[in-house]
Amino acid sequence: MSLENPFQDPLRFERRVPECAMVIFGANGDLTKRKLLPALYRLAYERRLDAGFAVLGISRTPMTDDQFREKMLASVKEFLEDSPFDADVWTAFAQGIFYMAGNFDDAALFPALDARLKEIDAARHTGGNVLFYLSAQPSQYIPIAQGVAAANVGKGSGWRRIVIEKPFGHDLASAQKLSAELHSAFEESEVYRIDHYLGKETVQNILALRFGNGIFEPLWNRRYVNHVQITAAESIGVEGRGAYYQEAGALRDMIQNHLSQVMATIAMEPSATFRPDSVRDERSKLLRSIRVMKPDEVLQNTVSGQYGPAHIGGEDVPGFREEPGVKPDAQTDTYAAVTFFVDNWRWAGVPFYLRSGKHLPKRVTEIAIQFNAAPLAIFNGDETTTAPNLLILRIQPEEGISLKFLSKRPGSGMKLRPVSMDFNYGSSFGERSPSAYETLLLDAIIGDATLYTRQDMVEASWTVVDAIQHVWDEAKFDFPNYAAGTWGPKAADDMLARRGHVWRQP
């Protein structure tokens, strides 16, 4: 019989974290420097990792362990954001950081990797547990996964898991192909598809708000909810990634994954338990319930946009087609807005408006749930006296929840005004919120896939998005159709106006 750790105290301690080694493919890349290593250091600082936790970075550039540690030290210091840096904690953590150079297409890399992992396991007692993190180009996912499988890397007494970043294909067919090839090397239960939006505290808090409280769920349906708006706005442009971006676009880059997942979290049915598969089953069911648009419905229910040049804050901002690496006649959508309907009893007839764009006026991600107005306006006054209630879930930059409702103005007479009741996540709980990568990396090490995307979810959202993308691919849009620094094309306003709605200005 295996021993149980007798010292755990779940009332006061954080979650239990097993020993493991993490292999980062693409260790010299931006994601490793900006997100992964700062998140791992922060977990070490918070005493969340096993003492023997090890990181083995792999990329093409030849480097020694010490050179890699120096590089990671500089990254951690630069990208630690709101956290303190402690030299002693780093020194101890860095002893577990290793590096090997290699080409992911080279079959000889993988037996060497296996040998290195065995050495690390012997020295640091990582229990044979290995987390592979693919911070590499998507085209390299399959060579890596198959190389790992062919050489039986990390296959022994412990577990193996593989984390991959989006994009999970560029359409349904390629997503299915990617999945099939991954499954030739790893079981689906070992594949962790990361969507960093799901790791954000407020997205997780949606579940707490909906299923931890008794007062919201009775209102969470077509009878009381008028419509839902999900906005992910960026104030910057493509920032030198024009060449990549023109192959992706906002619909594929944001709506197919992040915003669909957020929508699924908002609209899913309560799960019977908080076990990973139970939550993911409900999320998946919701995604599969999104109505797939017929070709003749697409242009009525979607808007594709592309920013043009503008003068913002005394600075000339180039249009997308003037960005380096972008074709002068590019038809890429830097803005996408869609109207989705969910074909189930809870949401039938309720529009879900999703929009995402680059070079919008501010960086903000939020969900606005607009409730039906009071059925009768018994107070005389202007339109504010019938303003609908809004529940706003802010994801970034200030995570929090606001409820907008009407209140009587002080004084004689019955004059109403809207007021907002705010809950700010950061300030209501003095603790610093963990970054999305801290949350998700720890979940992967623990083996909790609740916040990770499953293949059936990926396929469901591609099914919906492909129907739109196919029509867009055939159309020729008159781009640019919005100036940088504005809230997107007028057609997006018209799309809502057809149903009597207006976009909220976050």
């Binding site: 021993l3 954080e14 402690d86 904690v89 101890a92 007692h125 700010n424 209501s428």
Partner: protein
């Protein structure tokens, strides 16, 4: 805001608080106004000589995470009855100066002789439907017979056995209180900040044995060594020993415990804990305070560093206020530590 003379009326204090909110509302900018936040009533019982500024700063730091109506009662050792009160607010601006959040604070000064009158004053001042936590900062107050009436209002009473003098006597008293023979009312929960000080040590130990290779060594532990920076063994050392013995018993180990007073500046802090196997030169695991706020963790030939700073009243209360319900691990450790200290 608000003051009174020898007697105070709860209605008057509540009225002063209502006025306070009106004033704060008028000070709010535009439509933003102020938000009132409350998750509990926190009653603090302290000596008049206790550092008022430090208490105020601790409460201010606690408010964002545990917004509460704070009632601070400051006692002076006088035979003549006398009470006075004032109300004010602790506010902060979390929304980029758009809107401020405020918590209310009531300060009552009381002569010891007025202690029997206090429960009747405090009870109507507590916030309905929310828990009442009593943080007693002075052991002298705890031993005054009418204190039980005040403690009876609270769902949880927080004490610090480190302030009670000798650890053996302190733990016995605490254990008796839990046995409902003392000042804490039947049904009230008890917390000891000496136990809270151990959380990070305990968590580090637990984390070491999440590793299966280390866990396999646990039944081999034959000796526990606990060092501290104090002349006498502090309550934290007894708590840690009791908790370790209990955990090790569950994997079949029956270790001996040795306490050791370390040199260095006396601070009643633990300085080192080691788990050893009979006949082995190296410890199975050890944690020792190192330079600065760090501890050195050694296990299986690996050395790592973890932060283990000196905890402030704010750190300790922040943790205790997060646990409104029963804490079975503490209750078990308290009984065992008291037995160990008296053996």
């Amino acid at each position: 805001m608000g003051a009174a003379g020898g007697i105070i009326a709860p209605d008057r204090i509540l009225h002063d608080m209502a006025d306070l909110w009106v004033t704060l509302g008028k000070q709010g900018e535009g439509d933003a106004g102020v938000l009132r936040a409350c998750s509990m009533t926190l009653v603090v019982a302290a000596e008049e000589s206790d550092d008022a500024q430090a208490i105020g700063e601790t409460l201010a730091a606690l408010m964002p995470e545990h917004p509460s109506r704070a009632i601070v009662i400051r006692f002076r050792a006088e035979d003549q009855r006398g009470l006075a009160a004032r109300v004010f607010a602790q506010c902060w601006m979390p929304f980029g100066h758009r809107q401020q959040i405020c918590c209310e604070q009531i300060e009552i000064t009381a002569a010891d002789a007025s202690l029997p009158d206090l429960a009747a004053v405090v009870l109507p001042l507590t916030v309905p439907d929310l828990p009442v936590i009593l943080w007693c900062r002075s052991p002298r107050l705890f031993h005054l017979p009418p204190f039980s009436q005040l403690a009876g209002i609270a769902q949880k009473v927080v004490l610090d056995s480190a302030a009670f003098g000798a650890a053996a006597s302190a733990l016995r008293q605490m254990s008796d209180m839990r046995g409902m023979r003392g000042a804490v009312a039947a049904g009230s929960l008890l917390a000891d900040l000496s136990w809270t000080r151990l959380t990070r040590w305990r968590e580090l130990i637990a984390q070491i044995f999440e590793n299966r290779a280390q866990l396999a060594n646990l039944p081999l532990v034959s000796d526990i060594l606990i060092s501290y920076r104090a002349a006498d063994t502090p309550a934290t050392a007894y708590y840690l020993a009791a908790w370790l013995i209990d955990g090790l018993a569950r994997v079949g180990a029956r270790p001996r415990v040795q306490f050791h007073s370390d040199s260095g500046e006396p601070s009643a802090r633990l300085s080192r804990v080691e788990l050893r196997a009979h006949g082995s030169a190296d410890a199975i695991a050890s944690i020792a305070l190192a330079a600065g706020p760090c501890a050195e963790v050694k296990t299986g030939g690996l050395v790592s560093k973890a932060l283990l700073p000196v905890l402030t009243d704010y750190d300790l209360m922040r943790e205790e206020l997060s646990i409104p319900g029963r804490d079975p691990a503490f209750e078990h450790a308290l009984a065992a530590a008291a037995k160990l200290a008296l053996s």
